[in-house]
Symmetry: C2
Subunit: 191 residues, 2 copies
DNA sequence: CAACAATTGTGTCAAATGACACACTAACAA
DNA sequence: TTGTTAGTGTGTCATTTGACACAATTGTTG
């Protein structure tokens, strides 16, 4: 439970007992590269916490092209939130690009946690609030950056993503074409 | 309290009593065009619910250019979430582009609500979850659309935004230049 | 009304991009 | 080994875009 404990210790103040209580809701698993974590058409009834490894979340647009929605590089959460919280079928799929250490939170355990008492409900509320805040800040940051700068940032901050995702996947993630990303790569070959 | 009641009735199941209890946390105000709702440097200690009207949320990038973060067209919530939830100073500002009917939720009232009991804490958690879900879906939708399509969607779904924001503001919101948006406008003059 | 500022409309041009075509390489199976 | 497949590297070209410059229009203020 190492990575998970570390994450909650860093991001939220919890007593030792509370931390133990929380961690008990998760189940640690190791999955190998290529494992499908969820797939288009199913209801995603778990939240994954990625301890180590890289996940690829994607769907297909009207033209049938694969569109990368997210490249998760632990430590972070990964799920299809709408599917999880409203029990809808997912339009996204998620596959492990590397061997991964994951911590699984089942929907029933999640529901039990948020109904324990007001403290735990507020704790989950705060985790979700932080997730939303983080996403808003990322969007702000992105809006001021060129594709090239975003690629260089990724190279610096998330080298595992660069090493394990194909150039086409990264291009789709950055919202550009494979060829343009290749030009950027060639130009920055020394970096 | 019309627009606010209507919003919560539509989006969440609440008994009459619960709806009344919730609504009591808000204060209805009318503001005129040009009113500053919050400003860079201050701590945003309220959440606004926009009943009617258009708000412009923006900040400045490193080059000192105004960047539009959001154009809020009621009914919707508007705040700086990070500033509100963590009492940090805001880097964003927010101005009314039209006369507006707003419903203000003070931070103290918010804190009181989420600490009432597990039911209300979970209610707020669900509102935030829905907000996050909605944003993720918008991002998905945007990633498949051209600037032109997004402009036409805005014209169709949020005509008040088109009517009240300048072409430069809308261009910034869509992530393009004033000139390019003008080309799109000229091309679709008949629409 | 005149003067001024702010916004919008427009043309030109260099640069960036996407689409297409195809060669090259690596990994893997038969 | 050979063939196959997926992924990557590369060149060409039409199109789109952003930047710049400036005209036209609108709105505001004295």
């Amino acid at each position: 439970m190492d990575a998970l404990q570390h994450f909650f210790k860093e991001s939220h103040n919890l007593s030792k007992d509370d931390l133990g209580y929380l961690i008990n809701h998760f189940e640690k698993v190791s999955v190998s590269k290529g494992t499908v974590l969820f797939k288009q058409g199913m209801v995603v009834d778990v939240v994954y916490f990625v301890g180590e490894g890289v996940l690829h979340q994607y769907n297909y647009n009207e033209e049938g092209e694969k569109v990368t929605l997210n490249l998760h590089d632990g430590p972070c959460f990964c799920t299809n939130l709408e599917s999880f919280s409203e029990r809808k079928t997912s339009q996204d799929s998620c596959v492990a690009l590397t061997d991964c250490t994951l911590y699984i939170l089942q929907k029933e355990k999640y529901d039990a946690l948020v109904n324990t008492n007001v403290k735990w409900s507020n704790f989950v509320k705060d985790v979700i609030t932080k997730t939303l805040t983080k996403m808003l800040n990322q969007l702000k940051a992105i809006s001021n950056k060129s594709i090239e700068q975003r690629y260089l940032d990724l190279l610096k901050n998330n080298p595992l993503i660069i090493q394990n995702a194909s150039i086409a996947t990264i291009a789709s993630y950055l919202g550009t074409s494979r060829e343009t990303l290749h030009r950027i790569r060639r130009k920055n070959i020394l970096v």
